[in-house]
């Protein structure tokens, strides 16, 4: 360190900046904290006034999220004997019994299948295309790259109209394959642009050395370029996964049952008299937590990912 610098903020300035930023962070995280907290409240606690900050945590929201319940009379309840499990006990406080599993598990699984399926495809195809764009003279390269990017400017609803008709004709409506192909196409623009940036940064000399040693271009790509690009590929994959995971517009318009993902499903979780907020919050918590973890893992590449590789640190 060279001691005094004009660009270094004074300790007092730093303290003020730190306090302001921390205050903003705490305020902005409140809704997220509230989602997580509401998941552990009873329905009564969730809608109490004033809002309860300190409450007795319960797993009721999670039980309601994963089950469907039916109301029974006192006599029926007594006839059944004591509850067998802790979740039975929770449900019976409300004169109800568990009738079966809810659809949340299936919807979550759909999100996983469609998310990972489309991520794999878009990263696989994206890596190939990005390598070609980065290393070879592809005719109309700039036009093609711009075309790939401009596919993102269409409002999703506008894309959904012809896709809806096309899928209806092809029998792809409400299928996993249909959603995987659609998300792959949408994510390809991101993955090609991001990966091209990452591959551009790998010196060509490495492959050229391998080529001189008798490797084919393809072997050089697989054995030299891919290992070098692995961090970039992983970061790109996470971005594609997050997009497919969060996507709502296509999912709500093109799926209704078998292939429906979690985002259109969570807002439809209802209880007695409106939305069952603890169950909604529990569903949201389980759905949002993986993304929060990925975001923290991804923090170094965040800027690149959100700007399609336009800004690099």
């Amino acid at each position: 360190m060279s001691g005094y610098s004009v660009t270094e903020a004074s300790p007092r300035q730093k303290t003020i900046a730190a306090v302001l930023v921390m205050t903003y962070t705490l305020i902005t995280l409140m809704p997220l904290v509230w989602i997580i907290a509401t998941g552990f409240k009873t329905p009564a606690d969730a809608i109490s006034y004033p809002p309860k900050v300190i409450f007795e945590p319960t797993l009721e929201g999670y039980v309601n999220l994963f089950t469907t319940r039916t109301r029974v009379t006192q006599e029926q309840l007594q006839a059944m004997g004591p509850p067998q499990t802790w979740y039975d006990a929770i449900v019976r406080q409300y004169d109800m019994v568990i009738a079966g599993p809810s659809r949340y598990g299936e919807r979550f699984l759909n999100s996983v299948i469609i998310g990972f399926g489309s991520t794999f495809l878009s990263v696989f195809l994206g890596t190939l295309a990005a390598y070609a764009f980065s290393r070879f003279k592809v005719p109309l390269k700039d036009d093609l790259l711009f075309f790939i990017l401009s596919t993102r400017m269409m409002p999703p609803i506008a894309v959904a109209i012809p896709i809806f008709l096309m899928y209806r004709t092809l029998g792809l409506s409400d299928t996993h394959l249909g959603m995987i192909l659609l998300y792959t196409a949408v994510n390809l623009s991101l993955s090609v642009w991001l990966l091209k940036g990452f591959i551009d940064e790998i010196p060509r000399e490495y492959e050229e050395a391998a080529l001189i040693d008798g490797y084919t271009r393809f072997q050089a790509f697989v054995k030299v370029v891919l290992p070098q690009a692995s961090t970039g590929i992983a970061a790109t994959a996470v971005f594609c996964l997050i997009f497919a995971w969060n996507e709502y517009a296509f999912a709500v318009l093109l799926t209704s049952g078998t292939a429906q993902t979690a985002p259109p499903f969570i807002p439809t979780i209802i209880g007695v008299g409106g939305q069952d907020w603890p169950a909604v919050a529990a569903g949201a918590t389980l759905f949002l937590l993986p993304v929060m973890v990925f975001t923290i893992l991804l923090r170094k590449h965040l800027l690149r990912g959100i700007t399609f590789g336009a800004v690099r640190k």
Binding site: A132, A185, L288
Partner: protein, 314 residues
């Protein structure tokens, strides 16, 4: 690490094969690598786009089985003269202007503060970023809970600071408040986006420029307006471009917050389009609508990018 890869490659290669590049030609390989991507984009983006253009000249309804008639520019004419369409355009413009206004203001201020490089600024940056990575649908749905009169956390906080009765107002139920309710949630969610890009812009300014300014005895205030702002401007403009395109397409967050209501006060163009296409099933009309929106985004974005490039060249 790279050296070992190449070393191994070199050792594994028989000398007789070396010096000869084998396999398919580069040209072939380039096409094999690009073809699947182009094919998928053609079949899922371009073909549907052409189909949409075709449908936009018809009176096709996707839920009826009647012969399709070509009606020329009738759909386009009807959309551009429809008062309701212009109202949704107004709602979209209001949403676009204010979200970008607040996000730039708060986002830039935050970036500027974080760039004071206090201890632990990386940790706080990561935490601030969290909202924008989450599913807008799931989060938007939960915000309706925060906005509930009486029991909602948002109303409680507002009443705590202003003394207003928390059950006296409904952010998403009142015509005068709903347009602001969606601006608040979008700002909450996307301010980190502008902040991250601005931060990159601020960090790209080399120290020596400030040092030179200091030698010239330029005041901090003057340095801010003549160095910081102009040099961060291309980054800020890029961030605004991204937000502009995204918010013009905005659907998920707002549809789950207000569903376009009350009345049609928050009915943004995407929501309006969804109504026409998937509730009223006016497929031909909606196709024309979609084309108009696409051309608008594309046109505005192209003009904007030209301006951005001019700023960059300066």
């Amino acid at each position: 690490m790279t050296d070992t890869v190449i070393d191994r490659a070199a050792r594994a290669t028989p000398p007789s094969v070396a010096r000869r590049v084998r396999g398919v030609s580069d040209r072939m390989l380039a096409w094999i690598f690009v073809a699947p991507t182009i094919f998928l984009l053609l079949s899922i983006n371009i073909f549907p786009l052409i189909w949409t253009i075709n449908l936009s000249f018809t009176n096709y309804k996707a839920n009826r089985n009647r012969p399709v008639e070509y009606i020329g520019f009738e759909n386009y004419h009807r959309i551009l003269t429809d008062k309701d369409v212009w109202l949704t355009m107004q709602a979209t413009a209001h949403f676009l202007f204010w979200t970008i206004f607040f996000q730039v203001l708060i986002g830039f201020a935050l970036a500027w503060l974080i760039n004071r490089k206090f201890k632990g600024n990386d940790l706080w940056t990561t935490l601030i970023v969290l909202p924008m990575m989450l599913s807008p649908a799931v989060v938007g749905n939960f915000w309706t809970f925060l906005y509930q009169p009486q029991i909602g956390l948002f109303n409680y906080v507002v009443s705590f600071f202003t003394g207003a009765d928390p059950s006296s107002f409904s952010m998403i139920g009142q015509v005068n408040l709903a347009p602001w309710a969606i601006v608040i949630v979008d700002t909450w969610m996307w301010t980190p986006f502008i902040m991250l890009i601005c931060l990159a812009g601020l960090r790209s300014i080399p120290d020596y420029i400030y040092e030179a300014a200091e030698v010239d005895r330029a005041s901090k205030w003057r340095q801010f307006w003549t160095i910081t702002i102009p040099m961060a401007l291309p980054f800020l403009m890029l961030a605004v471009l991204f937000r502009g395109i995204e918010n013009f397409k905005m659907f998920d967050l707002v549809v789950l917050l207000t569903g376009g209501g009350p009345g049609s006060t928050t009915e943004l163009t995407s929501i309006n389009l969804k109504r026409e296409a998937f509730e009223k099933w006016r497929t031909g009309y909606a196709s024309a609508y979609a084309i108009i929106l696409f051309v608008t985004v594309f046109g505005l974005a192209s003009i904007y990018v030209k301006a951005l490039n001019k700023v960059k060249e300066r």
